[in-house]
């Protein structure tokens, strides 16, 4: 019977209970949905790395012998070593795309992941296993042939299988953000398929180890090889692993923070609603007690309200979250990342979160009921003594009497209903924080895009030069396109201790890429010395005028140069220098791309791909799609949140003040004045919540941005217009909800409202 009473009570207070349900649902939905999403990525990736035995350390050098391999193998904590030759070739296909060929010694470490075709066979000298995404883009299939050219050699092999690789979860294919599977790919062959009578000269050592102290591991490997290598790259710092990890971390961050807001709102709604219901049912409780119901039974009855509701909301969230949200993200992510499987994960922590939510809601219900149930039935049967109002400090000041009735009334009412007030402020605060975060993300990303692609990049087209192109071809191209030559690569930089990987940019009087300082003023590339990006300078703990040591990837020769300028770059961190200075240092200038302000299209000899600036921008947009999706979800959540909270609050204050409202109406106060009475409080809370919400929102943006990875360095932006927009949305909703109540004021039945004091 009491269960039926509960259901009837719930339907009588459906708005409040619905909002508790929605908040409990949203909290768990987002937590488990986003959780299932990132955890699914994490698990899929880990599983994938495990299955393919991804190397823990990648050593690059000019040649590793059998003895080198053995020496590293005998180092403490190293569990396995395998040699590999990595060469950049070009495929004999339309536009001569880049294809990285891997000649492997054993295929035991960083082994290929077969998607289609035959298993890899070390004795197969005529077969090649190629990147499935490249194959798809080029419509290549198993059984076909593949021709690649490098250093004058032509390799022609039969495609035995289509593969994925753990090193290519994220593949930017060079300097651009977006992977373009049409212009580059990779392929794996047995070392026996190497087109020479000699064995290949292995330039990579793949190492697996059971040591987590990387510095110590590097020291001992360095010792074993007596320095005979150029790059020591850990799995964590591998571009693919690193980028994917940052992405996952970013999603985790959002999934962890936002549910907290909904959780809090669910609790506060629960507290206010239950307090009200229990107070309203005071005499009923007294009657139940007088009838002989045990206290525990009545308590359980009221507690079950909170328990069932939050449990139902949490259960719905836990079921629908992991089923729906991940599938919203995965499609857009799969155009950037390559994983053999995209499966949302389920974690025990989701159940734990749901359980904590239900338990806390139940506990809050208990707090709301406890006091009333402690009293004797005789006391409970009597109407409740009204809450005592006291004078606050403000009222003792002279200012108080200057306030109008509206202000005085609202101030006291807010003080008297502290929980209700706090709930309103937190609701608006949460809404504002989410909106500011969403708009902030939007503006920050927009600003970054503008800076990178409109201010720094002034070229119209960027042509990638084939490795095999000769000077004559390049000269012809530059003349034809009125182009400028750029060399891009990677360097390892050492500052006052730490060693970091960065980008290398060498400019041959390039004018189509600009450099800016911290304040985004244009600066010139100095003739001598190197220009370092400000974030890299910070990481290396060096400043203008200091010396840094660096070497180009693939070349073991370290050089020492002075930092003659510091620039700020939003998307890549490293050094920039002039062609002349590079040659002064004794290195060759080997241009990797041609920049031109003309719209280049069609075919050019010696060019692997042409990217127009609009294609690059489109790539960036695609890259940020997942992020933007998150932003839209946030805006939607913020809207639901504020409508639910404000409506609830309005309803709550309206019912609590119905009698006062009726009295005032009977006395002759016009509906308009009554409305403004209600609106005033709403506006106060909205303003407080809004003001507090702005820094919180910016803080959220900061957290999300700082998890975007080491190569990014951009400031947070929030346009005034969008701040205004957040303000308008928050207040629009607030006023909208209030309008819903003005209809109630008009219809307020004075006779009914004043009938009795119960």
């Amino acid at each position: 019977m009491l269960f039926r009473k509960m259901l009837r009570d719930m339907s009588r207070h459906k708005t409040q209970f619905l909002s508790i349900f929605i908040m409990a649902f949203l909290a768990v939905y987002i937590y488990s949905g986003v959780g299932g999403e990132w955890l699914g990525l994490r698990k899929s990736a880990d599983n994938y790395y495990d299955k393919t035995n991804l190397a823990d350390v990648f050593l690059y050098g000019s040649g590793f012998s059998e003895e080198d391999s053995e020496a590293v193998r005998n180092t403490d904590h190293v569990t396995a070593v395998e040699r590999r030759l990595e060469i950049d070739a070009s495929a004999k296909l339309d536009g001569t795309p880049n294809i990285t060929l891997f000649f492997v010694e054993k295929n035991e470490i960083s082994s290929l992941y077969l998607v289609e075709g035959k298993n890899f066979d070390l004795n197969d000298t005529e077969g090649i296993w190629i990147d499935k995404r490249f194959a798809d883009a080029r419509e290549l299939s198993v059984g076909g042939t593949m021709e690649a050219v490098y250093n004058g050699f032509t390799i022609e092999k039969e495609i035995r299988g289509l593969i994925y690789s753990g090193e290519y979860v994220f593949d930017s294919g060079g300097s651009e953000m977006t992977p373009d599977f049409y212009t580059h790919g990779y392929a794996v062959l047995s070392y026996k398929a190497f087109p020479s009578y000699d064995l290949p000269v292995y330039n990579t050592l793949l190492v697996t180890a059971d040591e987590s102290d990387i510095t110590r591991l590097e020291e001992s490997i360095d010792h074993a090889l007596s320095g005979g290598y150029s790059v020591f790259l850990t799995q964590e710092n591998h571009a693919s692993v690193n980028t994917f990890n940052s992405e996952i971390l970013q999603h985790k961050m959002m999934g962890d923070i936002f549910p907290v807001v909904f959780f809090l709102i669910a609790l506060l709604t629960m507290l206010t609603t239950m307090t009200r219901i229990v107070t309203n049912q005071r005499t009923q409780i007294g009657t139940l007690k007088a009838l002989g119901f045990k206290k525990g039974k009545i308590m359980r009855h009221y507690i079950s309200y909170g328990f069932w509701l939050s449990l139902a909301g949490a259960l719905l969230g836990i079921i629908t979250g992991p089923l729906t949200l991940p599938h919203l993200f995965y499609p857009s992510m799969s155009s950037f990342y390559t994983l053999p499987e995209w499966t949302p994960a389920f974690d025990i922590s989701f159940i734990l979160a749901a359980a904590i939510l239900a338990a806390t809601c139940t506990f809050v219900t208990y707090l709301a009921c406890r006091k009333l149930l402690r009293d004797m039935p005789a006391i409970t049967l009597r109407p409740k003594a009204p809450k005592v109002t006291t004078h606050s400090a403000l009222e003792k000041t002279r200012l108080w009497s200057r306030f109008g009735f509206n202000t005085q009334w609202n101030f006291r009412d807010a003080r008297r209903n502290k929980i209700r007030s706090i709930m309103a402020i937190i609701g608006v605060f949460g809404c504002t924080a989410l909106l500011v975060c969403a708009f902030g993300m939007n503006d920050t990303m927009g600003d970054l895009k503008e800076w990178q692609y409109n201010i720094l990049y002034q070229f119209e087209s960027k042509l990638s030069i084939e490795d095999t192109a000769d000077a004559e071809q390049i000269n012809k191209l530059t003349d034809e396109l009125n182009g400028e030559l750029l060399m891009e690569g990677a360097v390892e930089i050492k500052g006052s201790g730490e060693k970091k990987t960065g980008t290398l940019t060498v400019s041959d009087n390039v004018t189509l890429i600009k450099f800016t300082d911290d304040n985004r003023n244009f600066i010139e590339l100095p003739e001598d010395g190197v220009m370092l990006t400000s974030k890299m300078a910070e990481i290396l703990d060096v400043s203008l005028g200091d010396e840094i040591r660096w070497h180009i990837y693939g070349n073991e020769e370290w050089v020492s140069t002075t930092i003659t300028a510091i620039n700020r770059d939003p998307t890549s961190q490293g050094i920039t220098l002039t062609k002349n200075y590079l040659e002064e240092l004794g290195f060759d200038f080997t241009p990797t791309s041609i920049l031109t302000s003309e719209m280049a299209s069609g075919k050019y000899d010696g060019v692997t791909s042409i990217l127009s600036i609009s294609e690059i921008v489109t790539g960036w947009d695609d890259f940020t799609e997942a992020m933007m999706l998150m932003v839209y979800i946030l805006i939607a959540a913020a809207t639901i949140l504020s409508v639910v909270v404000l409506y609830n609050l309005g309803l709550l204050s309206f019912t609590e003040m119905e009698r006062e409202m009726a009295t005032l109406k009977v006395m002759g106060l016009k509906s308009g004045k009554l409305r403004s009475l209600l609106l005033t409080q709403n506006i106060w809370f909205s303003i407080i919540g809004f003001v507090l919400g702005i820094p919180a929102g910016i803080w959220l943006v900061d957290i999300i941005c700082s998890s975007s990875g080491e190569s990014y360095d951009f400031p947070i932006k929030l346009h005034l217009l969008n701040l205004l927009m957040s303000f308008c949305i928050t207040f629009g909703l607030s006023v909208f909800v209030n309008l819903l109540f003005s209809r109630k004021i008009k219809r307020l039945n004075m006779v009914e409202a004043l009938k009795d004091a119960e």
Binding site: A385, Q408, D413, T663, G668, M750, L754
Partner: protein, 235 residues
Amino acid sequence: MKQTIIEFKNVVKEYHIGAGKMKAVDNISFAIDQGEFVVILGPSGAGKSTVLNLLGGMDFATGGEIIVNGKNIVGLMDDALTEYRAENIGFVFQFYNLIPTLTAVENIAVTRNIVRNPMEPKEVLASVGLSGHENKFPTQLSGGEQQRVSIARAIAKNPTMLLCDEPTGALDSETGIVILTLLQKMSRQNGKTIIIVTHNSALAEAADKVIRIKNGKIRETIINENPKKISEVNW
């Protein structure tokens, strides 16, 4: 000859209960003069409160005319009724209905938001004998004191009439006498028209006019030529 300020002409109030109808007020007619101290008597459910609510513009009549100061208020819409209440009616409720978040003097000052020239809150409070209690909240006052604040709030607007619905219903008899004495004084000294709804027939002896209602109809109207003072009434 006293001036008639309130006139009920064949007033009907019907309530719909399910498919059927219930006449709470069934064809009632009466008149009240300026400054009269009127008691409407009847058992509970007789329809006396409905009469008061109709006169107070808190409810719509189904038929008939209610003429106050020469103006028919039947058929007025919500806003017009609000204005009518603001100018003409001072209500005193059984449960006082003070605003709990406002002090005694502030509860009275609320009238500033309703009419243009209300009486000075402190003075009105003094006139009901509550000087020195200005800054107390309703919860810090006794029931009788709260009812006095409520009366002060009602007269501060300087309304045409005071309507009191069981004003002593929630009070002990001694405090009730104090309140009724105050109300009678208002009528005698200030010439206020005061209408009290009650089921306590003892009060009839003190009224200028007694209207007895039963089952929605007027049973009788008595005019006392020599009404007793409240203190002389045999309770």
